[in-house]
Amino acid sequence: MSAMKLTASVIAIAAVSATAAMARDNLQVAGSSTVLPYATIVAEAFGENFDFPTPVVEGGGSGAGRKKLCEGVGENTIDIANSSSRIKQSDIDLCKTNGVEEIMEVRFGYDGIVFASDIAGPDFALTPADVFGALGATVAKDGALVANAAKTWADVNATLPAQDILAFIPGTKHGTREVFDVKLLEEGCKATGAYDLFLAASTGADDDAKKEEAVDNCLKVRTDGASVDIDGDYTETLSRIAANKNAVGVFGLSFYQNNTDKLKVATIDGIVPTTETIAAGDYPVSRPLFFYVKKAHIGVIPGLKEYIEFFVSDDMAGPDGPLAAYGLVSDPELAATQAAVAAETPMAPLK
């Protein structure tokens, strides 16, 4: 049958060209969905203005991206992992096991995390203590630990609107959740005195274990429906708020800035989140954004060095660049990053 012969030859051609086409000429980037929009903006401009093909940028999450980076060295592994949280020792160990010895850490800016509610709703002026008081599973009341029974925001703090508590917070797989936990729940837990009560009630073996247990207790959120984990993207949180006008949601600053006609942002400690207040360090809930580069691929994959230099250049990541226009808080120490990238300095061991 000629169809059979045709198939056989197609498979043969495919197999041959597979080995021939091994040389990859486009960059492969994967990781954090928070960094994804920034990376695509840079990739697009890079492809437009350089003679290299446009890099291929994947999402998938910070942890997944770092794991892919550490899969090994070679053209079938990615070159850059985007990450909205710092690399972990376990990632570095995995990298070492797979022969990825040198990694460059590049911090290119900061991202704010904001509370926002429906545009037609009341204003919210929150503090970490309010957030913990409204969403923590166990809170301090009159010097004792009690299960959280607050129904409305006004129950938590009389100056807040008398609106039922309903918050959409990022699910535990998100890098954003980590910042939410540390900067809001833990801070609020300490501010309301619940942390000390947890510490006193803790049954850990030594001081460190006790502290760890107290922090764990601080990070437990209510399970009675007042706090809802969103495992999807910010677009899901937005549509949930559209359907539920009483709700408050957690967003990235850039997402809020693209949807200011639908969302009203809450202040934290009286500070309105903007790129300026975050850059100045006034707005408390922010985090650095990174990407990690496999050094062994520099000089092997064409355009890698040029791409990372272009990414951290003032034209891109600077305060007037397109990334800032999209919502990136540019790094005040960008010049140091540029120098480190130019010198291809690998990252020092984690402390």
Binding site: T7, A21, G47, T54, S254, T260, D261
Partner: protein, 448 residues
Amino acid sequence: MTDATLHGGHAAPRSLLATDARTRRRKAAETRFRLYGLTAVGLGLVALVFLMWSILGNGMGAFRQTYFEIPVELSEATLDKSGTRDPAVMKKVTTVGYGKILQKALEAELAARNIDTGTMKAKDVMGLLSKEAPADLRNMVLADPALVGQTITFEAFATSRVDGYFKGRVTMESAARDSNISPEQLAVAQKMADAGLITTQFNLGFLSMPDASELRPEAAGLGVAILGSAYMMFIVLLLALPIGVATSIYLEELAPKNKWTDMIEVNIANLAAVPSIVYGILALALFINFMGLPQSAPIVGGLVLTLMTLPTIIIATRAALKAVPPSIRDAALGVGASKMQAIFHHVLPLAMPGILTGTILGLARALGESAPLLLIGMVAFVKDFPAAPPEGLMQPATALPVQVYQWTQRSDPAFVERASGAIIVLLAFLLIMNAVAIILRRRFERRW
């Protein structure tokens, strides 16, 4: 019945004309059952209408696009200082340089038409144009360096908010709260529209252009996704059809009936029900990690979808072969044909309509599949078009359902329109494929 009346003896005589209570109950039960059925169909229809209404309502806008038509002077002094018209030299002028030319042209045109921009800064005026426009202009000039020195009429994309304003998605009220556009900017855009500088046209770019970053949703198109899907379907058709048909013919016509073939049969039926993400995991391990095929490439996507479609095609083909009456085979064998001649000259041609229908339905399922592509790097931002096959099969591409998934995740509301538009395109492809399947069946199917 007869027994009951005989032995019971006390049943009242029934009339055929007057309905008794039991008949009425039975009739009522039947009416109720019909109503249940109607309700089920009605619910389905309502869901379908709602789906179509929301998708068409959101997505039709993606097929129209607002453009600025402005005369642009391509001055030699900025674009080609050397005067050689050599594209290699002219490449040094980046999109920033072209942006300035556009800005100058826009300001000049506004002044010429006496359109007052009020207190707006030059940056805000430029903010009406898409950030894609300078790149477009640059590509145009580099493709045809002879344009330098001339004044051309350039069609620049309007930014997504201005585009939304003319489509009714953005209003003056929402613009007042929007950090990306101001009512003043919209007022200027309105004046420009009144002066005839703005046109809304069919957006061919939506089907032909590649994806774009979040800063320029107006320039995002399905080009790479459609091409990627086409490459994958090509691979699936080329591999799954012959392998599937060969397998079916062997199992149905030639294989002995024993434990082994039974086991293979059960496995094929089970594989047809395996969730598609499982095939993605297999592909990552087998094609990328073991065989070393490149990531994000249509060849890997095509191979995964082939594996996924094979069971469907095999089952459909076997059913089609089974439907050919044994008398055809017997007659062929009876006049001295070999078994293979009987199959290829008589059975297979008669089973062909059924096989093709099954194949097309399998392809349609593969076309709409995104989960297995997630793990092989095809859910990615890909801006460059892959080359023509065979090299193109190794270069990065995306697929239609993947593009929908990606656009729904983006923060700019204009991408909601794009995502719905992409769904419409995907549905249109699926409708066409299913229609072809139905036509083939109707025209060529034979009944015995």
